[in-house]
Amino acid sequence: MQYKDYYAALGIKKDITQEEVKRAYRKLARKFHPDLNKDKDAEERFKEIGEANEVLSDPEKRAAYDQLGAGYQPGQDFQPPPDWDEGFEYSGGRQDEAYSEFFEHLFRRSRQADHAQGRQFHASGQDHHARVLIDLEDAFSGATRAIQLKMPKVTGDGHVITEQRTLNVNIPKGVQPGQHIRLKGQGGPGHGEGRSGDLYLEVEFAPHRLYRIEGKDIYLDLPVAPWEAALGAKVTSPTPLGAVGITIPANSAQGRRLRLKGRGIPGKTPGDFYAVLRISLPPARDEKSKKAYQEMAQELSFNPRAQLGV
């Protein structure tokens, strides 16, 4: 079992007051809370902070930890002396969270006692929340994703351990970014005869090389030549459902949106597909193209800065 330096986890000194512990915890908790910080390691960090706070914010636990930890280095192999916590009483604290082996061993004795006495209680399991990253294509065809979940689990002797669990989940066709998929009974286990909680998977889309997704609509920046925008043209555009012909109306301006109804994310009322025109200028590198631009300059009386009043 590894010794945990809870003071280092909160970035505080040992002689700090309870009030300052709380302040340090809150500050870090706001920074790393998984609901506020979507970075991958935020969740792990938040757990460490939570565990440190669970011990240091409770004067009894803190006193026991201080007494025991003198002389230990973080990560050092640790064996608590027998009867080390004599005279300390712990209660409260979060019972649903899986902390480190170090924490479980030192501070979750009371639960063991409950268990040994065969005390019964029934409660529904916790609902859990996780994220799943999918590709746009998955929303069109459906897909199966293996999701790694860390779940707290109560062992036979009443300890809580973190269990790594792999869950294969069918991603239904037509799912949109930010939507949640509910998996009944895949959350935390119930106590006694209580039912298991549900698992809520928040769906995120990986950035796509071509498309942007807004709700159920899909946007593509479609490059067009100046003459295509000016004279109108029929061009080919990619869509997630395959290439389609799009008619560019004459005198289209930069940024004009052309809608293809029902070619967005599928569903009972499917989303739409928008091609946003981006006028792409041919470079004037050789004589021929330079001449073409010069002719345009002579033939057209066009002042692009007319709106600026100069």
Binding site: L36, L167, P172, G178, H180, S280
Partner: protein, 115 residues
Amino acid sequence: MSEESQSAHTGTIITSKAELTIDDLCSVCGLPRDKIVTYVAEGIIEPQGDAVVEWRFSQTTVVELHRAKRLERDLGLNEAGIALAFDLLSQIDDLKRRLAHFEQDDHKRLPTDVL
């Protein structure tokens, strides 16, 4: 519960269809009734219908309530704080989406515009 599942689980996409009563919500989320009433009053969650007995919530409300509970428990936020956090989070999401749009645009435009 703990066995590795070989077969894939199929879930349901939760929708914004309003179908849950306040009592449904209480039992699903394990929250007292008056807490839900306070959350509605603060605008953290929004039901359809006027009178409490007519209130109908969507399944997405369940997700929002879980998030509200986490923020309250972990950060000590009160209802007004949660409402503010929700507003700011949705603004951040929106800005991030728009930023991604512009960053993608920049990336695409540079080669031609630099000429």
